[in-house]
Amino acid sequence: MTLATIFSVRLFAQDLLNGLSLGAVFALLGLGVVLIYKSSGVLNFAHGSIAMFSTYIYFEITRSFSGIPLPVATIMAVAFGALLGAGFYLTVFRRMQEAGLLAKVIASLAVAGVLQGTAAFIWRNASQARVPQQLPEGSLRVSSIGLSYQEIGTILITLAVGIGLILVLRHTTFGIALRATAQNRMAARMLGVRETRVAATSWAIGGGLAALAGVLVIPLAVLTVYSMTGYMVRGFVAAVVGGFVSLPAALIGGFALGAAQESLKATPADQLSSVFAGLAIAVLLLARVERFFALDQELRALQELG
């Protein structure tokens, strides 16, 4: 048996590219999870449901207003996701600031259930909806390797949004307030940081990111009330990479996870691909990866939340 029979460089490269486009979705979701966790201490299990619901909104807009430019519909869906995120914070999670992590997790599961149930009811006759893609069909091919325009767009948009978000958090008042809140809530409050505003803004950005992930990836798949569940698990892995505190790590982690998971399929260890995310979570938890990204104050603050 030669090496060529068990390993193809072309196949590996193609799977790697596929993985990067998939990883972009994980990264978008992971960024939102980290942002929300940093600002309010909520491990948002409703994140995937916000993505799903916003994607149904995108589907409904494109279905009801035929001829509407798809970028406009996309922006409307992302804005809806942002409203949804901020709305859930202001109506549910703001009241749970002093609650324990378990209570917040249960609340987020309840929110996820409400969203799934509502979507299942509203769109029961469109149980497997086909959603239009924003970029043209077809693919960009170099030699025998290629990637569809939708996937290329997903990667580029994620990089732009992710880097932009990181820069905003580093260089704006909001970013400083968010980091201050994450490190020491009491001190931040005493210094005049409006915790509710910071958290609501973070939830809005997180919801918008979730919606963006949904409307970019679902046109290549199919929309159901459970569509984002699998993606969300990987989004959590991306968040774990950064110990739930580091946005750059979540961004890189998402891409790395997608690339690793997909490129494994081109190796003799292809069976590991489907369980790779689970293995990654276990390894990251055992390695206590958050130590590498979080300041001691952040760790202490997050521990207090839990």
């Binding site: 799977d15 998939l22 299990f45 995937g48 029961r124 909806a129 693919s139 081109a266 206590r288 839990g306």
Partner: protein, 492 residues
């Protein structure tokens, strides 16, 4: 530094919560949609009974001997009303049946039409006077499509609380139904259907493995011959086409193909069987790549890796062991510019026409042996009339026709038993059908060793988001026609 042990515990909690959320979200329970039944407009149909042995166009492959032509209402209901109960779930007035369906979420696309066909048949049956004077009551249990425990609980509820006589038209051939199936076999409760989502195998679905279950569809060992011959014909056409649309190199090896299947033992067996048949066609027929796709939504909807592997193996055609791998495989193939003929098992349904768009144009699949709505036999006309009466907004597909066949078999087999309706006798009738013509699907010849009973199927083609019938009945030994009638032609 902070005490890291506490933080580690927190993370372990997060991981556990993630797992819990996954379990909950995969089996979320919602109230089933209420299906409107226009009971106020119930009228008795006037079926035209067809006597056994009468002449109608025979299906190819029917064995010799007298033909049993059955039309709902042509037997049983005229007999005198029994005055005693026969078996569990049967009283002097009523026969209780149960059905288990996914009525919510994405799988409702499968469950709702099957339930509607079953309920419509029962409504019509009762309007005709029931079976030997007994009215049929149908009890519906909703169960998540992928939740094994929930399916078993549903079966237990029907047997132990509703005391049903038999269960009809479920998705028993999915892995999530295995516990329920074992339970029903253990309790000796008949399970009767013409539809279960995926095809079965003669060796698996016999008296030893599932003694209390019949499942009328085309047998795997016959079906794969039909698929293999069809793919061979398509490849020959593509290769002879003036523009030769097959990938580079296929002019030298036109019969190298790839196969893709879901990670389930049934799909894997079907793919292995296809490979065996394909290889038997000649040394130039080779399955160069077999791709297993994890049975998870994310993996199924993103099959780019599997497609890359098949293209990399220089495959010139594709066989899909199940519908989802065709629908999403053809989409991934289009993204990657890999254009080859596709043949799939069991892709007839809205999943293909609603979700695939132009990517699936030209793809071939079969009808599981369950006929075609436009072939208007007397039985098919009756099916259309009843469905239009109770569910005027429903469409015809594999689920509704399959469910109808299951109910026809039940009415026929129980009607023959007269007043004394026993489960064991019912199963003996259901597994002893000879040349049984439903007019809805292929001829059924069941036996104690073969609970599937069909050996023919028809090929269909997806084109512009609808299905076209492109063949008559085909059996293992039948060759495809030289030309087909569909706007997409042979698909290139």
């Amino acid at each position: 530094m902070i005490a890291s042990g506490s933080r580690f515990r927190s993370f372990r909690f997060l991981a556990s919560a993630t797992a819990l959320a996954l379990m909950l979200s995969s089996c979320a329970l919602f109230k089933p949609e209420r299906v409107a039944i226009r009971s106020s407009t119930l009228q008795t149909l006037s079926p035209t009974p067809i006597a056994p042995g009468s002449t109608i166009a025979a299906s190819p492959g029917a064995t010799t001997g007298p033909k049993v032509v059955f039309q709902p209402g042509s037997s049983g209901s005229a007999a005198g009303k029994p005055n005693y109960a026969s078996d569990e779930g049967v009283t002097s007035d009523v026969i209780r049946l149960g059905t288990i369906q996914p009525m919510d979420g994405p799988a409702a696309q499968l469950g709702r039409p099957l339930y509607r066909a079953t309920q419509a048949y029962v409504n019509d049956l009762n309007a005709r006077g029931g079976i030997n004077g007994r009215r049929v009551e149908l009890y519906l249990q909703t169960a998540c499509f992928t939740c094994e425990a929930e399916n078993k609980l549903a079966a237990q509820a029907l047997v132990e609380q509703k005391h049903v006589f038999a269960i009809v038209n479920t998705y028993m051939n999915t892995y999530a139904f295995s516990s329920a199936l074992n339970y029903l076999n253990e309790k000796r409760v008949p399970l009767i259907q013409g539809w279960s989502g995926v095809g079965g195998e003669r060796l698996v679905w016999g008296a030893q493995q599932t003694p209390w279950n019949v499942y009328y569809t085309v047998r795997n060992d016959d079906g794969v011959y039909v698929f293999a011959r069809w793919l061979e014909a398509a490849l020959t056409k593509w290769n002879a086409a003036p523009s030769h649309p097959l990938p580079a190199g296929c002019e030298d090896h036109p019969y190298w193909v790839g196969a893709v299947y879901l990670d389930s033992s049934q799909d894997e067996r079907r793919t292995d069987e296809f490979e065996r048949v394909w290889n038997s066609f000649g040394s130039d027929h080779q399955v160069k790549s077999k791709q297993k796709v994890a049975a998870e939504e994310e993996a199924v909807t993103r099959m780019d890796s599997a497609i890359s592997a098949m293209a990399d193996a220089h495959a010139c055609g594709a066989f899909s062991a199940t519908n989802a791998t065709m629908v999403f495989g053809m989409q991934a193939a289009k993204r990657q510019g890999w254009k080859v003929p596709w043949v799939a098992k069991s892709a007839w349904g809205r999943a293909a026409t609603d979700n695939c768009g132009s990517a699936c144009d030209g793809g071939f699949t079969d009808n599981n042996g369950w006929g075609w709505p436009q072939i208007l036999t007397p039985q098919m006309r009756q099916y259309h009339a009843v469905m239009a009466r109770y569910y005027p907004d429903s469409s015809d597909d594999a689920q509704t026709l399959g469910g109808w066949i299951g109910m026809m078999a039940f009415e026929y087999a129980s009607g023959r038993l007269g007043a004394d309706l026993k489960r064991r006798d019912l199963m003996a009738n259901l597994t002893g059908l000879r040349n049984f013509e439903t007019g809805i699907g292929a001829t059924i010849n069941s036996s104690s060793a073969d609970h599937l009973g069909m050996s023919q199927t028809m090929m269909l083609q997806i084109c512009h988001n609808r299905f076209y019938r492109v063949s008559n009945w085909l059996a293992a030994s039948t060759h495809p026609p030289g030309s087909i009638s569909s706007p997409c032609g042979w698909g290139y």
